[in-house]
Amino acid sequence: MLKDKVIQYVLWGSAATSILIVALIFIFLGKEAFSFISEPGIEKLFSSRWVPVSFTLEQFGLYPLITGSFLVTILATIIMIPFGVTGALYISEFASNTEREFLKPFIEILAGIPSVVIGFFGLLVLSPIVKSLFGLNTGLTAITGALLLALMAIPTVISISEDAIQSVPSSYKEASLALGASPLQTSFRVVVPAALPGIIAAIMLGMGRVVGETMVVLMVTGNTAKLTLSPFDSVRTMTATIAAEMGEVAFGSSHYAALFWVGIVLMLITFGLNVLAQQLLKKYQMR
């Protein structure tokens, strides 16, 4: 019985580690970002110019980075919704068994392709296409990043939406079919509305992935920190800013602390998206 108690405490300790890590993430982001509050002052974050390296005046306005992330995320979401939701609907409602056996692992493979490889492909193949298609000076734009990010988020959207669709009670479907509705009408009028909370959660989790993705945006969105909402402009996201600049800053400098602030904002956004999505999913599993 003593051995049992010891093992139980060890397991408890392992479980507690997850709580500890989350706490440490917040603590260490806060710790490194803290100095910025007094010098140069937290209000400096609320401006529209990010010029962290300058001989005259360093500026740490987060707005262009936030709009950069926002723009890319919204575009990617608009692109991933039709593909993700249609894919999930098709796989769970219309595909034959053989098709499903092939489609599901294939889409899982997509989820496994490293983001740096997707970015590499975007750089070499997609960005020249975007450039010539829209007659731009450069193919490294928000829309290029959004297309690739949508692709990366699609597996998440598909697998979670599919779970939601699968868990619609078959009695709903049967009732609709028995009333003479076609399979397609049943899908769109009964199944999709019933699965909607789960599908929305899936989209939110997909968005979470997009906001947090680093390598693709770093490689293909042009890395220009300017305030814009045009899909064809170069932008710089929060993630790319951290990745690109953290390697070159002096530890403890204002720039260093500002990058941790970027991390905090990023963390809060993804945390919010996740918690909301989980609430939706939970509501839905209660049924």
Binding site: D4, I25, F106, L110, F120, A243, G263
Partner: protein, 281 residues
Amino acid sequence: MPKKEKVITWVLRLITYSIVVIIGTILFNIVKNGLPVLSWEFLSQPPRRSGAEGGILPAIIGTIYLVSGAIIVAIPLGMATSIYLTEYASQDRFNRYVRLSIITLAGVPSIVFGLFGLGLFVIFFGFGASILSGSLTLAFMILPTIIVSSEEALRAVPLSLREGSLALGATRWQTIYKNVLPYALPGMFTGSILGVGRAAGETAPILLTAAAFFLPKLPTSIFDQVMALPYHLYILATQHPEVHKVLPKQYGTALVLVLLVLTFNLTAIFLRGHFRKKYKW
């Protein structure tokens, strides 16, 4: 089926398969351009002239070290957590906090893990940019994947096996060890492999905690910096002074990385199907 219905079904099919075509295009592009570069020399030699010549051996080794380190930390920790959550903790407050933490961790952007690893391991613990810092950072990143899939495997073992064992006077741990884990472990490992595949392909977390731009020597201790495949690809593709000259090396690196990650994923997908068939309760 009316004509309109048929058309709409075809549109759905078309959209779904367009995803497949895009994935296929990416893989084909990488394989077609990467395959000619693959050679024994490319895999077994260190890079020369900052990657313009030679191979990618240190990057392969570096990735293997980082991933192994992550496995050593994350798999025991993740499995132990999942055992606690499914077998011991009931619906108490601690359990709810652990779950909230896991959900939170699963959503933390990889670059934020990088920042965290930088702040905690590199600076606070003074491990510097090293295999140790990078492995620990990756370990915490893949922890949620391992916990969630291990839990799923544990829950698939029927309650009646636990009751049967407890009723014979087995303690809780004896029951878990002898009558739950043997049937859950294959599934637990399968899920873990997916997490490992993810760790091998990630760049952002190691960017700030472990990766070196150009380091032709192999590491000798866990406090050494290392090259890593994803980072090497990133550098060759965007930071190299002669980007176009090293294009074949880029494709070769991309192919090796994709092969490595896909091996993990396909193994996991295959094994999962296998075990699902084996244990149908």
